[in-house]
Assembly symmetry: C2
Homo-oligomer: 750 residues x 2
């Protein structure tokens, strides 16, 4: 036990390494599966090439960004006493690993897709095995890299800034500096995540919408028809958006959640066997456990017969990993955390306790918060499924409203999306209230960490969807027998459900993580309140609330514009290249790929910069309290817009899919190509950018803005009396000096 | 001057009375205009009867509500020391006057419509004169009744609670009680406004969407064709929604703005010639001046020739009243307010000043805030016009996106709506910051009061639109000559623009009013902060942010459902009544009127109750600070959703209208019945409930929830330590007792 106590900190990256080894084994297995014959291999080759072309173009732009941002960070680190230029290195590593995680996932996905198609020629069980193993590679890669990266950097910074420095305190400024530098890692990861998510999201939907509008609607050929010039771009999109984009996204979330908990954990005075840093290590240990048990859970995901339920197999694997992780977490919490009440350093000044309302808590409370997090995640998934699943009231209402045309279908979907915010918000508000009740602000953070523990498994399930979707596309384009397409459709349908529930889960974790980051920001900035009763803070709240709207507007209008360019190109090819329709001439796939690539790279810049720059401007111009108002506004409005858009999109999608089997409206059956079906296609097309571009970007937007604020927080501390136009400025300044940072105060005492 | 000083308080209702006299004169003039011949008169009769049938049905339900709410208010007034059962009387009067204002406007509108049609047979100038005079009757009626009601009640309550009570203070509890009772008037007005706006909004759009979907799209007959069974319901809708609903809405806003300023004015220590209540009287005096100068401005609205610009005439009238009011306000502020610095009573405790950041200010500052309010209102109108006007980038982008179908048109409109939140929010945030800078919280309130001063003129311009719309409908249904329709179309087009700018103005005033009410609430509830850094307050913020989403969902889904019922009824009549299409049989108009009436009355209840009950539940269960978080969430999210929905709807509408004259897309002209035009009709239909049901209801939602909170605030003060699950509850309680209400503290000092 002593050995474990001393070396636990080193065990964390080892757990990450175990994940990477498991990943490599599974990747090797996927690679050696049969990749099918000539036609299939050729199409799969186009897709893989297109995906790599996009990643290369994206990386080129992002490398400029990383260099510039890195220099700025290094410079700012040298100018502020509480910071360090090392943060730039941390930032670059985070950015690199995030991009690498996306690359790994996409690489395996573009191999697994055609192998899944080939496997589907023999059986559903084998097809599930290949596609899910592909997804697992992604999940393990993301989680493994995150834990190795964060764990190793923490070891280094902990040694350099705390252990090696005489008189440093694990609750004090030394540890704060170590974690501030570590925040650079999260900033790098989340920045790349945002660009990858937005760029990938624009790519995939521009291609999808463009392909559908001309292909399905005008030319009357099926989705994924080899004659459609945009079909390759569409399939590339699934990989760069739903796989690489999502991988970078979850890498960022996973790291941000751990980091926020660590920053708050630093403030906990803990007399434990780990030199007082058990609350800091805990989130990483839980993540490591979650990774290990995700490997275990993945082994449960299998079916035997054609009629076995794929959804059930995924559920069993998911629940196995969650329950095992929860049980292990209970024992780890009991082992790592000491008995008795915890206090946070900012509580030590008694008057401060009353003002911030931070409360003492116990290790049982910490476990209670984790349970709250798991319950919130589960409920969010269930609610999301209800609002987007076929056969349930919301989707049925959209189907019914399709019978009176395009407009009522749209009204129906928008109203379902708006309505669907109610229960998630109530769950989330209760979750905040509950986890805070059990363990204060640390509880809110550790609840998010608990939810995110089995990210590897969640991501495996999420990534399996687009692989299956691609596999279906390849089957269709290669004109394989009906039964093959039937099997891939089965997988694809399950993938649609898991995509929707995954989004519900992601938004809940993002909300909790943002709150944790928000709390960490308040601590680091050394402010006492964020009082929305003040005119300037309230103005910040308004501006913050507006950002998700302009961000969404930029994303969906980018999709709209790029899709129109795609439509025009496809129309041109149909017009100018004779023989496409008779399979006599090959369309120029690469032109469509180029349109999506160029558009997405160009259009991802503006929303990305808004997220990065706004907190910096507001923070330096108006001080940390107004920035706090801004963050609260972004978080509330972002969560709402995220849920609204994702669920509206999901519900429209499944309303359209319902017509494939036929829908009964007012006693009459309607099938594909009926008028109500056409109306439902309109809804689905509107929903595409909602659910795959702007909706899921909301998570990253709110987290990234919180992380930026956290990183600049020590700088703001120095600038807090920056000139504002307010008359009470002078008084404010006096107050700030009188208070100073609670952390410094404690250290003086010690 | 002494005389004026002593009797100013009595002059306020007299100014209201002048407005009512002017209204009566104008109403008599409209009534004696030629109402046209048999066919026209018959159709106008149907419309007037349908409108009255709706109002009767609505009043029946609302009278139950008023009775129940009145009893609850009276009861709660008897249980809390700081309140009075008289509030119930105040509430009933407010509700009655609000309903009466709507009735007056609608009555004159259903007379002015057919008289405008008749006038349009001779000249555009005469048609404008009749329709605008009709609108003026509405505007003067609303403003006059509001000033008479609020002014008279204030005189009574001021006498009863302050003047007649020995030892009472105009800054203290006695005046607080008088204003608390007066808040009942505003609560009554705003409650009726909400139901009228939502009910009317559902009515008008159910009829409009239903009529369009079958008439224009399926049967291929023009809008307002006498053969369409839903056409009468559609025209009734313009009156009950756009006239009666809007009248009650602006009556409520106008009163709420004055009230909020008065409540904050009570806290200002003013050594003036009016017994210290100049800051309380000021908003009512400004409103009275605005009313008088609206009468003057209305005289400027006239044209001579057929080619004169109607928009220009309206603008001249509008600017005349605004500028004259602004000049008069400057002198009134100089006269009424004393020299030197003002302080608010809650500032007297020095530590408190620093905490709330409330600042001393001068009378020049007060005028500065009013100017800020006028600038904000003007900018909001300009921005709104830009985003919704024909020929400007936003609408052109939607037109271009119509060329690739329904879905891209919808994506285009949604993205325009979202984008259109940016500038208004920046203007609003700057306005809050600026008006606060000039005169603290009182400045924010008086800025709103300045904006709302010329409500009579604003409303005249707003109400002229639906009158012209109806006049056009009657011309179409009566198959009058082309030139008549041409003239009414000219007026209608201007009406569309004024409707859009009116909405921008309304949302800005609602936002400022809500902030003023919010500030008033904080004062009355006696809390120090609304700290979003606390978990429970943050939860409140989330829940508050969600309410505009569920409210909008209920409104637009109600329209969707009612429109479908309308579609089925119209289809049934076309099927079962032979000869409609050949003008041989008369459709059963009354059945469609009944469907709209029933649906709107039924569906307005749920959203209304959400607005009324949520603050009560949150306030009593979690205390005033969490309620403050809820209000902030509702305000931010409501303003955003209001702007988004109103502007998206307006832009879609004008994109569709652009096709009437033909649109150039990629070098090709497209007209009515082209594919892009069909796509634009879909957008317009989706936009209908956005811009006329849910969008404009957001204003009332946020104000009503703030007023409810203000009314229950004294009760919460007693319940502030209500049990919550938080561990720090005990500490909180101690804190609250130690602080007590700042107002009471001051009085003890005095």
């Amino acid at each position: 036990m002593d050995f474990l106590n001393n070396y636990l900190i080193y065990l964390i990256p080892v757990m990450g390494l175990i994940g990477i080894i498991a990943m490599a084994t599974k990747a090797a297995w996927v690679t050696k599966q049969d990749a099918g014959d000539g036609d299939m291999a050729q199409l799969a080759g186009y897709i893989a090439d297109g995906a790599m072309a996009f990643l290369r173009a994206e990386w080129k732009i992002l490398s400029y960004f990383v260099i510039i941002a890195g220099i700025l960070l290094a410079y700012s680190g040298t100018t502020v006493a509480t910071s360090s230029p090392v943060i730039a290195i941390s930032f670059v590593i985070g950015a690199f690993l995030s991009a690498f995680a996306g690359f790994l996932g996409m690489r395996i996905a573009t191999k697994a897709n055609v192998r899944t198609t080939q496997a589907a020629r023999s059986s559903l069980a084998q097809a599930l095995r290949v596609s899910f193993t592909g997804g697992t590679v992604m999940g393990l890669g993301v989680a493994g890299l995150a834990i190795i990266g964060l764990g190793s950097l923490f070891i280094v910074f902990y040694q350099v800034y705390v252990v090696k420095v005489a008189g440093s305190s694990v609750n004090g400024e030394a540890m704060a500096k170590a974690l501030d530098v570590l925040a650079g890692f999260s900033l790098g990861a989340e920045s790349i995540a945002l660009f990858a998510r937005v760029g990938g999201g624009i790519y995939t939907k521009a291609a999808d919408v463009g392909a559908d509008l001309v292909g399905k609607v005008e030319a009357g050929i099926p989705e994924d028809d080899v004659r459609n010039p945009a079909t390759i771009a569409d399939n590339v999109g699934d990989n760069v958006g739903d796989v690489a984009g999502m991988g970078a996204d979850l890498f960022g979330s996973y790291v941000a959640t751990m980091l926020a908990t660590m920053v708050l954990g630093r403030e906990i005075v803990s007399h434990d066997a780990f030199g007082g840093i058990a609350p800091v290590l805990l989130p990483m240990v839980i993540a490591g456990l979650g990774l290990i048990f995700s490997i275990v859970g993945a082994a449960f995901v299998k079916i035997k017969n054609e009629n076995d339920s794929v959804q059930k197999a995924l559920n069993i694997g998911n629940w196995a990993s969650i329950i095992l992780t929860a049980i292990a977490t209970y024992f780890v919490v009991q082992w790592m955390l000491p008995a008795g009440e915890f206090h946070m350093v900012r509580d030590e000044d008694a008057s401060h306790v009353i003002k911030t309302g931070i409360i003492p808590f116990t290790k049982d409370g910490v476990f209670g918060s984790i349970v709250v997090g798991l319950i919130v995640g589960t409920l969010m998934s269930i609610i999301t499924e209800y609002y987007t699943a076929m056969g349930k009231r919301p989707v049925l209402s959209i189907i019914r409203q399709s019978s009176t045309g395009h407009a009522t279908n749209i009204i129906g979907g928008l109203s379902v999306g708006m309505e669907s915010t109610v229960l998630p918000i109530l769950v989330l508000a209760s979750g905040i209230y509950g986890s805070y009740h059990f363990a204060g602000l640390y509880g809110v953070a550790i609840a998010a960490a608990g939810m995110m523990a089995t990210t590897a498994m969640q991501l495996a399930i999420d990534a399996f969807g687009p692989i299956a979707d691609n596999a279906g596309g390849i089957a269709e384009m290669s004109r394989l027998p009906e039964e093959v397409r039937h099997r891939t459709d089965n997988l694809d349908a399950v993938g649609n459900t898991t995509a929707a529930t995954g989004k519900g889960f992601a938004i809940a974790s993002a909300a909790l993580t943002s709150l944790a980051l928000f709390a960490a920001f308040v601590g680091v900035a050394g402010i006492e309140h964020i009082d929305i009763y003040k005119a300037d803070v309230l103005s910040g709240l308004f501006v913050g609330g507006m950002i998700p709207f302009i961000f969404s507007a930029l994303c969906i209008s980018a999709v709209g514009r790029a899709a129109m360019a795609m439509v025009e190109e496809v129309r041109r090819q149909f017009r100018e290249i004779p023989g496409i329709m008779e399979y006599k001439a090959k369309p120029e796939y690469e032109k469509c790929v180029a349109i999506s690539t160029k558009a997405s790279i160009r259009e991802m810049v503006a929303p990305g910069l808004i997220a990065l720059i706004t907190p910096v401007i507001i923070g330096f111009a108006f001080g940390p309290e107004v920035l706090g108002g801004l963050l609260a506004g972004v978080t509330v409005s972002g969560v709402l817009m995220g849920i609204f858009q994702s669920n509206a999109g999901g519900a429209w999608d499944n309303a359209k899919k319902s017509f494939e089997k036929g829908c009964m409206i007012n006693g009459e059956m309607h099938y594909k190509k009926s008028e109500p079906h056409k109306a439902s296609v309109t809804g689905d097309t509107v929903g595409d950018p909602f659910k795959d571009t702007s909706g899921p970007s909301m998570n990253i937007l709110i987290k990234l803005m919180s992380i930026v604020s956290l990183v600049i927080a020590p700088h703001l501390n120095a600038h807090v009396a920056a000139p504002t136009a307010m008359k009470h400025e002078v008084k404010k300044e006096v107050k700030v000096q009188a208070l100073s940072s609670p952390i410094i105060k404690i250290e003086k005492k010690a």
